[in-house]
């Protein structure tokens, strides 16, 4: 990005040491991304409550601001001002670190997401593997939270979500590999470019997209796969013992992961930021918000499935489908 090169050069001319000047642009980029995540998550929490409300023929939050638009802001203030409670039986360090371990990778993933032709923090040529590697962290943070809470509901919730994540990560990654095969690159920017020169990959990857969508819902711990927080059985899952800011951080991570999923889905299968007339960023956000709405729609429409059905669907349904899809994609790429 030219702006950041200019910023860097300006700092060097002002006599700032080179290493410090090198540090400034990445820091500014991270801050922008962090702000983007925070603001969007606040909006998404409000949006989720509104969507849920209207789907159940009620209004959702209405009191704070017009149509409750600043409800999330009020919630944030409440959460920040809450007392920081660490239950006495917990494994202190692990308990404190778990939300951070959860949020850090969810944040870092945004580094490689292309918001526009030049609007990307860092275009890595291993972006897809980078994302897969970072999202695999989530499992550990769940286990840390669940185990350190010293509470059987937390532990059971953590075990459930871990089993779920491990099962669904395999078909998810395989369905993503098929897209990488088509584009001939692991860089998200190049995948968008390849789609601009041909067509949206949803046209040749409908099966891959379905596998990706289903597996992502499971990865996000969202209904119909939200077994880890099945209230009737488990209170609230791995985050039962958390409150205040730490709980907010876990909640934030969930929504950050939701944005990541929507961004990756639109980048891999729906041409990312490309589109006519409107500026690229707007196209990107439209697509992202469409997928976020889709996920919310699914959540408030479908009932939760059982644990055994969950495992069966993952290993006996999605995994073979994703492998078949990969094999056909390979053949297609060869004869293309």
């Amino acid at each position: 990005m030219d702006m950041f090169t200019a910023m860097h050069n300006g700092l060097v001319q002002m006599g700032v040491p080179l290493w410090l000047a090198n540090l400034v642009p990445p820091l500014v980029k991270s801050l922008i991304l962090l702000l983007f995540i925070l603001l969007n998550c606040m909006f998404l929490i409000w949006m989720e409550r509104k969507v849920a409300g209207h789907m159940q023929r009620r209004m959702g939050p209405m009191r704070t601001g017009p149509h409750g638009i600043i409800q999330s802001l009020a919630d944030v203030i409440k959460l920040i001002s809450k007392e920081d409670i660490i239950p006495s039986g917990v494994d202190r360090w692990v308990f404190v670190l778990a939300p951070i371990v959860a949020f850090a990778p969810a944040f870092a993933v945004f580094m490689v997401i292309p918001f526009g032709p030049t609007l990307i923090a860092q275009d890595l040529n291993i972006a897809l593997i980078f994302i897969a590697a970072l999202t695999s962290f989530v499992v550990i943070s769940f286990l840390m939270a669940g185990w350190s809470s010293n509470n059987k509901w937390s532990l059971l919730g953590a075990m459930r979500s871990t089993a779920q994540l491990i099962s669904y990560e395999v078909p998810l990654v395989i369905s993503v590999v098929a897209v990488a095969l088509l584009a001939g690159s692991l860089s998200l920017q190049e995948i968008v470019e390849a789609q601009r020169q041909s067509f949206w990959y949803i046209l040749v990857q409908p099966l891959g997209f379905l596998v990706f969508l289903t597996a992502s819902l499971a990865e996000l711990n969202r209904s119909p796969f939200d077994l880890s927080e099945a209230e009737q059985e488990l209170v609230a899952g791995y985050n039962t013992e958390y409150s205040g800011m730490r709980w907010a951080l876990l909640y934030l991570t969930e929504y950050a992961n939701l944005i990541t999923f929507a961004a990756i889905a639109s980048t891999l299968f729906f041409g990312g930021w490309s589109g006519p007339v409107l500026p690229p960023v707007v196209w990107f956000l439209i697509k992202v918000y469409f997928f976020i709405f889709l996920v919310m729609w699914i959540r408030w429409t479908l009932p939760r499935i059982r644990v055994d059905q969950l495992m069966e669907l993952g290993w006996k349904g999605l995994l073979p489908l994703s492998l078949v899809n990969l094999a056909f994609t390979g053949v297609y790429v060869l004869i293309r």
């Binding site: 040529n125 593997i129 962290f137 185990w147 491990i166 692991l186």
Partner: protein, 178 residues
């Protein structure tokens, strides 16, 4: 010293410290978590060496999968299996051997391993760092794996498959034996 050197020192210190904590942690769960940090530190060193693909694979496989499986294993074990024989209940032999096992043997092993490594490093001829490394590491790795090293690659896959089938066979045997 350049910035890269400082970063290397920091990453190496984190890696070594967490590796040390893996050995001395009394709670096995903490040891597993420290092990995850060690793997992460190693990935950081790969990254500093310009092996970005390797670093990502290291995080994906070791931090994401191996550490999780270890933690799972710990959680599925009974407390007795984890704590080992408690002091009063354990036999004399076990309790007298415990301090030795904890301090003396690991030290000897570590010093021996370090000596071998130092000897090897001093002997080896280290090629000068290559002038320009291509940034397209996945392509280079892929080409190398599927042309020159295709047989070792396939053998490794078969070994993994055998391990997978073996693990399932063992688990099934245990289940039917109960």
């Amino acid at each position: 010293m350049t910035v890269t050197d400082w970063v290397f020192l920091a990453v190496a210190a984190v890696t070594l410290f967490s590796a040390y904590r893996v050995v001395v942690s009394r709670k096995i769960m903490h040891a597993a978590l420290w092990l995850g940090l060690t793997f992460f530190g190693v990935a950081g060193i790969f990254l500093l060496l310009g092996a970005d693909f390797l670093a990502a694979a290291q995080v994906l496989v070791y931090v994401g999968a191996v550490t999780t499986i270890i933690i799972f294993g710990i959680m599925l074990s009974t407390p007795e299996e984890l704590r080992g024989p408690s002091p009063e209940a354990g036999s004399d032999a076990a309790s007298s051997a415990a301090p030795t096992r904890r301090s003396f043997l690991p030290l000897v092993t570590a010093i021996g391993f370090a000596a071998v490594m130092v000897a090897l490093v001093n002997r080896g001829e280290w090629p000068s760092p290559p002038g320009s490394v291509s940034t397209d590491t996945p392509r280079l790795l892929g080409e190398a794996l599927f042309t020159r090293f295709v047989i070792p690659f396939e053998v490794a896959s078969v070994v993994l498959l055998v391990a997978l089938v073996g693990a399932i066979a063992l688990a099934l045997k245990e289940e039917s034996g109960q």
